[in-house]
Subunit: 346 residues, 2 copies
């Protein structure tokens, strides 16, 4: 029995997760799901963000499915650092996997790109860099205030995520890997990334490689996203680049992600890239596609390739049948996709 | 007599600067220009990047016009840190001004945006953040290597650039200012930015304000760039966001910038956002529009508003008359724009 921990979270989180669970029920019948009440609501009610006992329970699962956490009523950083980033770091989810496709039947904002032409995946480092939480401030609130943020990067952390990205690139058709950093300014970390990239590359002669500065990569994601296959980059650059990749492929409503621990020493976590969107919460109009596609990534990670493909194919069918500009019906979408998965899996 | 220092630099730098100088000759007849040989060529010839004596001479000018520095033959960071960033920091050019317009007659990559609809300016902090050069590495080259990069932020540096941005926003039609940071992860620096932004805002009641995380801002620059008026952000985020803004407004070939010292304690520096593009150098096909528009920013900064407008109007006419997909003729473009400026200024 596969054990899945579910964290619906705040805002539209619970709405889209309800749909994702319908799909999971069909695609992975032999699973056992436990819901955990974490997020802004619990924080306000009890002051708790992620009790140790809850974290220990989560750790006993095979995977975590998360909706979205966050609410404007909670100071910035509290839930991000205390819950989302804590799980990514403590569970050593060093591969933050973010695929972007311009799905057939959908339109992106770019005039010259046709559906099917964009198919890229960003492998974002998930446990280092500026996300380490190393920083501080002095004379806070005075005119003499200074604030620092430190980016911490290790050969260990860089090498393992780069090797993972090479492995992924070598299994894809184009076998092309782009390393993104800002080596002309962040010379220490950039040099570490570039050297490690070049060294690991020798293990993968079939993969063609390229390096781009993050500003150029951001530009090319807009002007020629078709050229990207796999991208490997640091935590912060990956955060920014994956939102651009989402933007050029029809928006954040379709962007799924996996915070993957490839070594299986702790559970991996799967979540839509979008946030809790309190402005549209409770109206049954949030697109559950990203949450459902996150289920596909979860299945893939659990070694259930056929079920994963069934889910993404079902979403593709759903998207192809959409009428542009017509509002999404959250629950109806979940029902239709679940039914399609059931049909595909026979 | 206005004294202009000119650094043509590497690759296409000298080609586009030659055109910019034709325009400058017409628009600012009472100036005296001195060319400085700096960049990859000099570095290879003499080992010098920016001799102190040259820097002292540059400091005696009213403004600096720079083409592009850099060449793949020089290790990353050497010219960037030793020349470009050194001038920005030592000359206290704390306002890195980067306007983006979708010029009438041009087309950007976005399907739903018409020329004239995008008109934004990014005020990028130019003397702090991750560009401070504070970092290091230990056990370099071994499997135990760590590399750090530190973002240094002061209330002093944050407040002055934010106030400058509010001033600019208050002089524009929409009077809207968006502050961009990543306060949910970079909590110390982000908090400094947000607090300072809120405090300075009280001095500018006519300006409407907004805060966005950098990942969201990157996305919105692609999905609804029309909504932005003035953006104020830190050094690294500004680097990335301005390349996205350039991408959605027809590309880096049109993006001008000013590294401005608003206090006039040292000269400001004006440069196209593009690099030295060694791949197309020497073929007279580089677009000089960004360099010429940088001249317009230079004139504006020198208090020559009429001449500045004449130059940007002349570029607008040139762009409106272009046949898409026809290659640019660098020298012919410079001649035509200079002639137009001459006609406009009577
Ligand atoms: C909510 C935030 C901490 C998070 C991040 O920056 O990683 C989000 O933007 C994401 O991309 O998952
Ligand atoms: C060349 C590089 C140091 C520079 C920067 O990062 O500021 C460039 O990208 C720019 O935007 O002017």
């Amino acid at each position: 029995m596969t054990r899945i921990a579910v964290i619906p979270g705040d805002g539209i989180g619970s709405e889209v997760i309800a749909q994702a669970r319908k799909v999971l029920d069909i695609a992975l019948p032999d699973h056992d799901a436990t819901e955990y009440d974490l997020g802004a609501a619990r924080y306000h009610r009890t002051g708790e963000i992620l009790p140790d006992s809850v974290q220990a329970e989560l750790d006993q699962h095979d995977a975590i499915l998360l909706g979205a956490v966050g609410d404007p009523s909670v100071p910035p950083g509290v839930l991000e650092r205390g819950l989302l980033l804590k799980l990514r770091f403590d569970f050593d989810q060093y591969v933050n996997l973010r695929p972007s496709r311009l799905w057939p039947g959908t339109t992106g904002p770019l005039a010259d790109v046709k559906p099917g032409e964009i198919d890229l995946v960003v492998v974002r480092e998930g446990t280092e860099g500026l996300y380490a939480g190393a920083g501080g401030s002095l004379h806070t609130g005075s005119s003499a205030e200074i604030a620092t943020e430190e980016s911490l990067n290790t050969r260990y952390g860089t090498e393992r995520v780069i090797r993972d990205a090479f492995n992924r690139a070598s299994r894809r058709e184009r076998k092309h890997l782009t390393c993104v950093h800002k080596a002309n300014v962040l010379t220490y970390a950039g040099d570490l990334w570039r050297r490690t990239f070049a060294e690991v590359a020798t293990e993968f002669p079939a993969v063609t490689t390229e390096y781009q500065h993050v500003d150029a990569a951001a530009m090319y994601l807009v002007t020629r996203p078709q050229d990207f296959d796999v991208v490997v980059t640091d935590n912060l650059f990956g955060d920014i680049l994956t939102d651009i990749a989402a933007a050029v492929t029809g928006g954040i409503g379709l962007a799924a992600s996996g915070c993957v621990n490839p070594d299986h020493s702790h559970p991996s976590m799967f979540e839509p890239v979008h946030g809790s969107a309190p402005d549209i919460a409770g109206r049954n109009i949030a697109d559950p596609a990203a949450a459902i596609l996150s289920v596909s990534l979860l299945l893939e990670q659990l070694g259930r390739g056929d079920a994963a493909t069934a889910v993404s194919d079902a979403v593709a069918e759903e998207l192809a049948g959409r009428t542009p500009a017509e509002p999404v019906d959250t629950t109806a979408t979940g029902d239709r996709v679940a039914e399609r998965v059931s049909r595909i899996l026979g």
